[in-house]
């Protein structure tokens, strides 16, 4: 039997290698080659590391979002979640440093931020499972509320309460590789394992593909969906902490609109917005695609406004490409 089919938790169109299955990989390679030729300075190691650093923050969340979308749900609150995590950590550090010292304060602030992220996921999942409130609505509410909460904690100003060493997590490097990239790779590996090699991952695909069939097969549909939100909440908080470290403060206005970039990366990566189909590796491609194209356009002095237009076209184009190839 074909390992590939179960490996990705989705059925392959036909046996063996098909172009359709690897179309995004092919596009990404073509893009990278084009940028090497067209964008001055694209190939320098400093530039490439910079791209990886910048996509890490987005990618960490995108891997969680992939699970949410495969399960047939959506999470619009991640951008605000990032802001809240940073602001909460900054607020806690300011409050606790005089009492506990800076190391314990940062640790408690970070743990608290992750716990809040997970609690938000639990909230969304519970409302979905117990009261049938669409996650679109709940997370749209959180999208506004969390951003408000972040600004309440910091009085609307950047709160630069972190000790100097905290900046390492966002800006520092180990063996020349930016620290966030390690987190990004670890989250990628973990989520890939979870989605492709565990019973939970298989249940996520089943629930998103046909919730009723999954339920009648004895799968705990509400629990599975809630878990994907909790994971995404935790990853959002981790990303938020890295961003706070990078900019050196908790800022209520950080990561505005990030949720759309995250969803875009997942969709470009071939995940079906209706659930049941998608891959963590696809999301990796989507994240890199967005990162490289943004970087390439900046290097080629394309204006910000054009970049928005191109990114918008990219999302629709990628989806259209998938649909057309699907139908063939």
């Amino acid at each position: 039997m074909s390992e590939a089919a179960t490996f990705h938790g989705q059925a392959r169109a036909r046996r063996g290698w098909s172009l359709r299955f690897y179309i995004m990989e092919v596009c990404l390679i073509a893009l990278i080659l084009a940028l090497f030729l067209l964008a001055p300075g694209f190939g320098s190691s400093a530039n490439l590391l910079n791209v990886f650093r910048s996509v890490s923050m987005l990618g960490i969340i995108a891997f969680g979002m992939t699970a949410v979308i495969i399960s047939g749900e959506i999470d619009l609150s991640v951008g605000s979640g990032v802001a809240l995590a940073g602001c909460f950590a900054a607020w806690a550090v300011e409050l606790l440093t005089p009492v506990t010292g800076d190391v314990a304060a940062v640790l408690l602030g970070a743990l608290g931020a992750v716990a809040i992220g997970m609690a938000c996921g639990l909230f969304t999942g519970t409302l979905r499972a117990q009261f049938n409130v669409p996650s679109f609505i709940t997370t749209l509410g959180l999208f506004t509320a969390l951003r408000g909460a972040a600004n309440l904690l910091t009085d609307g100003f950047p709160l630069a309460s972190f000790p100097g060493w905290f900046g390492f997590f966002g800006n520092g490097s180990v063996y020349g590789i930016p620290f966030p990239v390690f987190v990004f790779v670890a989250v990628f590996a973990g989520m890939h394992f979870l989605m492709s090699h565990t019973a939970f991952g298989r249940a996520v695909y089943a629930v998103g593909g046909n919730a009723e069939a999954a339920r009648l097969s004895g799968i705990w549909v509400g629990g599975v969906k809630t878990m994907t939100f909790v994971i995404t909440g935790a990853l959002t908080a981790i990303s938020g902490l890295l961003i706070a470290s990078q900019i050196g403060s908790g800022t209520g206005s950080t990561a505005a609109g990030l949720e759309l970039d995250v969803i875009a990366a997942v969709i470009i990566g071939g995940t079906d917005l209706f659930g049941g189909r998608g891959r963590i590796t696809g999301t990796l491609i989507g994240v890199l695609f967005l990162g490289f194209i943004g970087n390439g356009m900046t290097l080629m002095n394309v204006s910000d406004y054009w970049q928005y237009v191109v990114r918008g076209g990219l999302i629709v184009g990628a989806l259209l490409l998938n649909q057309v190839l699907e139908r063939r």
């Binding site: 039997m1 089919a5 179960t6 059925a11 392959r12 019973a199 939970f200 009648l216 097969s217």
Partner: protein, 503 residues
């Protein structure tokens, strides 16, 4: 009675490839009368209705309305020819008012201040007139979702009548109605008949036919058996016309020794759906549930399996009383359920054949939560071999299989759980003859291995030939517990339709 309202079929044949659904049917429905159309599942009854409604085109033959040939290439043609249809599933928009529903798709407009706008006043006025004319006592401004099913059915008929049809097709209009609502519906039908409308009425409820219909036309195996005047007929004659003489499936029924039940149910009830359901199921027994559509067959199975929550009752499975059944808990106790709707309830169409075969077995293939491909492969290969699933590659999407093979995947998924009791809900729906025989063989083999099962099918001959014992359900109650060897198929049929045995 105007001859213009007669409808006639001349040599109508409908073939789907090799399968012939209707074979050279010629008949004439006289105007201004209510004609019953009878036949069991697969008799060609639905095909005939769909042809008249314009939903499908006949392979051969002609349809004549009022002495003129009509070509029905779509529902619009049927309406233009004066044929209106009220389908079994209501087709009203729940969030709109009665008036809006009646005029849906043809809202009258008028020009006002140079802008063409919907003429709401006229819609309300005309809807009110139509309702009053049909003596339906409802406010045209009421939203449809506030109405009872019976009232909605009445609105459907008023809506159909609003187009001044010559012929009205009613497909099981009473299947969802309560007793007093049926009476009101019949009054409405008689009113239309008295105006000269030709009505073709499909129902499985024998007693209704004799109440509302004037003639009865019977189809069997795609052919016209005949038409009779109901005033000069009786239910037994109709039933024998429907069944004729036919061979039954050959099935090896294993011998049965009833000792301790593996599943017993006492006083199970679910509001408005079924009540007072009590039975015991013994190891190796195949228990048939017989009953017409809407008798509660599926609902009882779903409640025991925990798919829906029962209001009352006691369920004891393998010696353990289960208070709040959930699919997960029942599965772990050794109960399997193959739902009636393969596409929506059983299979994850986006996933592979292989993944669907282990859907209910995730803990089995993933000890400690980590998937072991080899364990999955073992379960998958075993079922593909045992059930003779024709799959070139288990990694292909399950949607690539034929209906029969998909059904075997559903069964295989559940056999992998090692069940002691299996509920087969319509396992033969929409699959070919060879696959049906294979499904029967699977049921028989499980029975021989000591696994108990409940077998539900709309095809009564299947239940009749496979079950050790048959429970007859009627309006959500068990009205009979019979040994299939002591009842003829046609008696069983009228038992299911009328809820009593005396014909």
């Amino acid at each position: 009675m105007t001859e213009a309202n007669s409808i006639e079929l001349r040599g109508v044949t409908k073939a789907y490839g090799e399968n012939i659904a209707l074979r050279n049917v010629s008949l004439c429905f006289a105007p201004g009368r209510v004609h019953a159309l009878m036949g069991k599942n697969g008799s060609g009854k639905s095909t005939l209705i769909e042809i008249l409604a314009g939903s499908i085109a006949p392979t051969l033959g002609e349809v004549w309305v009022g002495g003129r040939q009509v070509v029905l290439m779509g529902p619009g043609d049927a309406l233009a020819a004066g044929i209106a249809t009220v389908h079994q599933e209501l087709s009203l928009v729940p969030s709109l008012t009665i008036a809006e529903n009646i005029f849906l798709g043809r809202l009258p407009r008028r020009r006002r201040f140079g802008v063409t706008a919907v003429d709401w006043r006229r819609i309300r006025r005309e809807a009110a007139v139509l309702l009053a004319d049909m003596e339906v006592d409802l406010d045209a401004d009421q939203r449809v979702d506030c109405l009872t099913v019976g009232q909605q059915q009445a609105v459907e008929i008023v809506k159909a009548a609003a187009s001044n049809p010559k012929i009205l097709l009613l497909d099981e209009p009473t299947s969802a109605l309560a007793g007093h609502e049926v009476g009101q519906l019949f009054a409405l039908i008689r009113r239309l008949r008295d105006r000269g409308v030709t009505i073709i009425y499909i129902s499985h409820r024998m007693n209704e036919l004799f109440e509302i219909c004037d003639t009865c036309t019977v189809l069997r195996d795609g052919m016209l058996v005949g038409s009779v005047e109901l005033a000069q007929s009786n239910p037994a004659e109709i039933v024998s016309m429907m069944f004729g003489e036919r061979a039954t499936h050959r099935i090896n029924r294993s011998d049965l020794v009833r000792t301790t039940p593996v599943l017993s149910v006492e006083g199970l009830a679910r509001g408005g759906v079924f009540s007072d359901i009590s039975f015991a199921l013994y190891p190796g027994e195949v228990l048939g549930f017989a009953g017409m559509l809407g008798s509660g067959r599926t609902e009882v199975l779903r409640a025991i399996f925990g798919a829906d929550r029962p209001d009352r009752g006691r369920i004891v499975l393998r010696g353990q009383e289960v208070r709040n059944p959930t699919p997960r808990r029942m599965r772990d106790l050794g109960l399997a359920y193959t739902p009636e709707d393969r596409k929506h309830q059983s299979l994850v169409q986006t996933a592979s054949i292989s993944d669907n075969l282990v859907m209910a077995n995730l803990s089995r293939i993933a000890p400690g939560g980590i998937l072991r491909p080899r364990l999955q492969q073992g379960l998958v290969e075993r079922q593909i071999a045992n059930l003779q699933i024709k799959a070139a590659d288990p990694g292909l999407p399950v949607s690539s299989l034929s209906g029969g093979n998909q059904q075997k995947v559903v069964v295989g998924n559940w056999l992998n759980t090692g069940p002691r009791v299996i509920f087969f809900d319509e396992p033969t729906r929409g699959i070919d003859l060879a696959a049906k025989q294979q499904i029967f063989d699977i049921v028989a083999a499980q029975s021989a291995a000591g696994v108990a099962s409940v077998f539900v099918s709309s095809e009564l001959e299947e239940v009749h030939s496979i079950a050790h014992r048959i429970l007859v359900l009627h309006h959500g109650r068990i009205v009979g517990d019979i040994d299939p060897r002591h009842i003829s198929l046609s008696d069983l049929y009228s038992y299911c339709m009328k809820g009593t045995l005396n014909v």
